[in-house]
C-alpha cells in the first residue's frame, strides 16, 4: 500500500497519470491476451511450422539441423561455464536461479511453444536432446575448471576443441544439403551469424584504416565507410541481385543467399567501423604514450593496448548493430527472393486454406515473436558481457 501511494499517487497529477496509463496498459494487455488465447487462429502456424522454421529444407536431412542445434547448445554452455575467470563472490542459489530464469526463461518458453505447436513425439525428443547438450556442456566446463590447476590445458586449445563440435555439424549440414534449399527462420539465423562473424573483423580493419597515418589507406577506408553508410540497405540488396552479373560470369553467379551475406557483411562492417572508431577515440592519449615510452611498436600498441579497451567500451553499441542486422535479414526476402521467414510468413497466407481470411495477423505475430526472443537474448547476453568485462570501470 505504501509503495503504491509513494510511487503512483504522490500528487494529484501523478495520480491522474497513473490512472490514465494504467488504463491504457490494461487495455493493451487485454487485447493481446484476447488475440493470443481467444480470437487468434493459430492453425496456420501449426500447419506451416516446419516451413516457417526451415523453409523447403529436405525433410530426410532435418536431423542434421537438429544435431547442429544440439551441438551449438553444447558449445555455448561449455564455453560459458568453463571460463576460468570466475566471479569473486559466489552468488546465492536463489540469485543464481533467478539469473538463469532471466537468461534462459524466454528462450525455453519459446522452445516449449514450438514443441507444442509441432505436436507429436519427435520434437519432444529433440527438445530433450538440446537439454542434454546443455547439461553435457556445463558438465564439461565444470570438470575443466576443477582440473584446470593440475592439467593445464591452454585456453586457446580448449576453445578450439569445443568450438570444433558445432562447426563440424554445421559444415556437415552445409555439405549434405544445398544452401539454396535452406529457408525460413533458419536462413535468417544463418545469414545473421555469418554476416556478424565476417563484418566484425572487417569493421575493425576499416576503423584502423580510417585512423591510419598512410593517406591512401585512410582515404580508401573513409570513402568506403561514407559510401556504404550513405546508401539504404534495401537499395544495396536490390543492387546485389542484379549488379554482381556485371563482374562475374553468369554461370558462376552465386545464389541469392551468398549475395545477401555479402551485402549484409559489407553494410554492417561500415557501421562497425564507425562504432570501433568512436571506441578508439575514447581511449586516452596517455595510453598510447605509455606504450611508446615502453618501446612498443605501433601495431603492438594498437592490438595490446588501445584496441582491447576500445572494443570493451563499445560492446553495447556493437551488439545493437548486430541486433539490427539480425532483424534486417527479413529484407533479403523482399529484395532477393530469399525464402526467409517473413517471406514464408506472407506466402502461407495465400495458401488455398487460408487465402483471403486475414491470417496475416497470426503469421506476422509469430514471425515477430521469433525475432523478439532472438533480439532479447542478444541484448541480455551483451549486458552480461559488459558486466563481466567491467565496462565503465577505468
Amino acid at each position: 500500500m505504501t509503495w503504491i501511494r509513494r510511487n503512483l499517487f504522490r500528487s494529484v497529477w501523478d495520480g491522474i497519470l497513473s490512472i490514465v496509463f494504467g488504463a491504457i496498459a490494461v487495455y493493451v494487455l487485454w487485447t493481446l491476451f484476447e488475440f493470443v488465447f481467444i480470437t487468434g487462429r493459430w492453425e496456420i502456424i501449426e500447419v506451416n511450422l516446419l516451413l516457417l522454421l526451415v523453409g523447403r529444407f529436405p525433410e530426410d536431412q532435418l536431423w542434421l539441423v537438429g544435431t547442429s542445434i544440439v551441438a551449438l547448445a553444447f558449445w555455448i554452455s561449455a564455453a560459458s561455464s568453463g571460463s576460468p575467470k570466475s566471479l569473486d563472490s559466489q552468488p546465492s542459489l536463489s540469485a543464481r536461479i533467478l539469473d538463469s530464469v532471466q537468461r534462459f526463461g524466454l528462450l525455453s518458453a519459446l522452445g516449449v511453444l514450438l514443441i507444442l505447436l509441432a505436436g507429436g513425439i519427435t520434437p519432444l525428443y529433440w527438445g530433450l536432446a538440446i537439454i542434454g547438450g546443455i547439461l553435457a556442456g556445463l558438465g564439461l566446463g565444470k570438470t575443466r575448471r576443477s582440473i584446470a590447476a593440475r592439467a593445464k590445458i591452454p585456453n586457446l586449445l580448449w576453445h578450439a576443441a569445443i568450438i570444433a563440435v558445432p562447426i563440424t555439424f554445421i559444415a556437415l549440414t552445409l555439405s549434405l544439403s544445398t544452401l539454396d534449399s535452406w529457408g525460413g527462420f533458419l536462413i535468417n539465423f544463418y545469414i545473421a551469424i555469418i554476416s556478424i562473424v565476417l563484418s566484425f573483423p572487417l569493421g575493425v580493419l576499416l576503423a584502423l584504416g580510417r585512423r591510419s597515418t598512410l593517406p591512401i589507406v585512410r582515404v580508401l577506408a573513409t570513402t568506403y565507410i561514407e559510401l556504404i553508410r550513405g546508401a539504404p540497405l534495401f537499395v544495396l540488396l536490390l543492387l546485389a541481385g542484379v549488379a554482381l552479373e556485371f563482374f562475374v560470369p553468369t554461370e558462376l553467379a552465386p545464389g541469392p543467399i551468398f549475395r545477401a551475406v555479402t551485402v549484409f557483411t559489407l553494410f554492417t562492417a561500415a557501421y562497425v567501423a564507425e562504432i570501433v572508431r568512436g571506441g578508439l577515440q575514447s581511449v586516452t592519449q596517455g595510453q598510447t604514450e605509455a606504450g611508446k615510452a615502453l618501446g612498443l611498436g605501433t601495431s603492438k600498441i594498437t592490438f595490446l593496448i588501445t584496441l582491447p579497451q576500445a572494443l570493451r567500451n563499445v560492446i553495447p553499441a556493437q551488439i545493437g548493430q548486430f541486433i539490427s542486422l539480425f532483424k534486417d535479414t527479413t529484407l533479403a526476402g523482399a529484395a532477393l527472393s530469399v525464402l526467409e521467414v517473413l517471406n514464408v510468413g506472407t506466402a502461407i497466407t495465400k495458401q488455398d486454406d487460408f487465402l483471403g481470411q486475414g491470417y496475416i495477423y497470426e503469421s506476422l505475430a509469430f514471425v515477430g515473436l521469433l525475432f523478439w526472443v532472438g533480439s532479447y537474448v542478444m541484448s541480455r547476453e551483451s549486458q552480461r558481457l559488459e558486466k563481466r568485462l567491467g565496462v565503465g570501470q577505468r
Binding site: 596517455g286 595510453q287 611508446k292 612498443l296 579497451q309
Partner: protein
C-alpha cells in the same frame, strides 16, 4: 657504486664532459605552432646523476623530458641518449625508448590488464622475454616498490599512490639506463605523495640516473645532485640544491622561489 664521487664531481664542475654524459641536449628548440616551448636548451646529465627540474607551469619542463624519449619531436638542435642520436629513424627512437623509463603524472597504467601483466608488458613484448621469466621479473619489481600483494588486481582497484608505484615498476622492468619522471606526485592526494617519493629516493640511492620534473622542493633538496630552474622555455639557472635554493643568482629564480617557499 661511486655515487658520491660522481656527485661531487658534478657539483664542482657544474656540468660534465660529454664522455660521462648519458643524456645530452644541444641547442634544442621545440615549437607548438607559433609558441616556442623550448629555446636553445643546452643540458647534460651524467651517469647515476639525479637532476631535478623545477619552474613555473608552462616553462617547458615537461616538454623537455618528453623530447628525450620522443613523445614530443624537437625541431632544432641535437638530443643524444647513451650514444644514440634521436633522429627520424624509428630504430633510433625505439632504441632510446628501450633505454629510458618514463613515469607520467596520470600514471597511464593499462586499465584492462592486471597489475602483474602491466609490469610484465615491456620485457615480454619488447625484450622478447618468456611469459614466466617476465612475470618473475615483474613480481621482483612489485616487491621492490612494496606492493607484491596487489599483483593480480586491476589498476582501478588500487589507490593513486599504489598505481604510481606500479607505474614505476613497469618502467623499471625494461631495465632502463635513465628514468624520466614527469610530475610523478602532482595527481596524488597529499597523504600518498610520500610513499611514491620514498620509492624514487630509494632508486636514487641505488644509483639510477634520473631526471625528475616536480614541485616537491623538499624532495629536490634531499635527492638532487643538481637542480635546474626553467622559465619561458629556457634554462635559467643550474646548481646544487644548496646553491640554487639558498643562494639563487638570477632574478627570475629568486622570484619563483619566493612565490612557492
Amino acid at each position: 657504486m661511486n655515487n658520491t664521487v660522481f656527485t661531487d664531481a658534478t657539483k664542482m664542475s657544474g656540468g660534465r664532459s660529454s664522455k660521462d654524459a648519458i643524456v645530452t641536449l644541444e641547442n634544442v628548440d621545440k615549437h607548438f605552432k607559433e609558441f616556442q616551448a623550448l629555446k636553445k636548451v643546452n643540458f647534460q646529465v651524467g651517469k647515476q646523476e639525479v637532476v631535478v627540474v623545477i619552474g613555473p607551469s608552462g616553462s617547458g619542463k615537461s616538454t623537455l623530458i618528453r623530447c628525450i624519449n620522443r613523445l614530443e619531436e624537437h625541431d632544432g638542435g641535437r638530443i643524444v641518449v647513451d650514444g644514440t642520436e634521436l633522429t627520424m629513424d624509428i630504430r633510433n627512437i625505439q632504441a632510446i625508448r628501450r633505454e629510458t623509463g618514463m613515469v607520467f603524472q596520470s600514471f597511464n597504467l593499462f586499465p584492462h590488464l592486471s597489475v602483474l601483466t602491466n609490469v610484465a608488458m615491456g620485457p615480454r613484448q619488447v625484450r622478447g622475454m618468456s611469459k614466466v621469466k617476465a612475470e618473475e621479473l615483474a613480481m621482483e619489481l612489485l616487491e621492490r616498490v612494496q606492493i607484491p600483494e596487489q599483483a593480480s588486481k586491476y589498476p582501478s582497484q588500487l589507490s593513486g599512490g599504489q598505481q604510481q608505484r606500479v607505474a614505476i615498476a613497469r618502467a623499471l622492468a625494461m631495465k632502463p639506463k635513465v628514468m624520466l619522471f614527469d610530475e610523478p606526485t602532482s595527481a596524488l592526494d597529499p597523504e600518498m605523495i610520500n610513499e611514491v617519493l620514498d620509492v624514487i629516493k630509494e632508486l636514487a640511492h641505488d644509483g639510477m640516473t634520473m631526471i625528475v620534473v616536480t614541485h616537491e622542493m623538499n624532495f629536490a633538496r634531499e635527492v638532487a645532485d643538481r637542480v635546474v630552474f626553467m622559465a619561458d622555455g629556457e634554462i635559467v639557472e643550474v646548481g646544487t640544491p644548496k646553491e640554487l635554493f639558498d643562494h639563487p643568482k638570477e632574478e627570475r629564480t629568486k622570484k619563483f622561489l619566493s612565490q612557492i617557499l
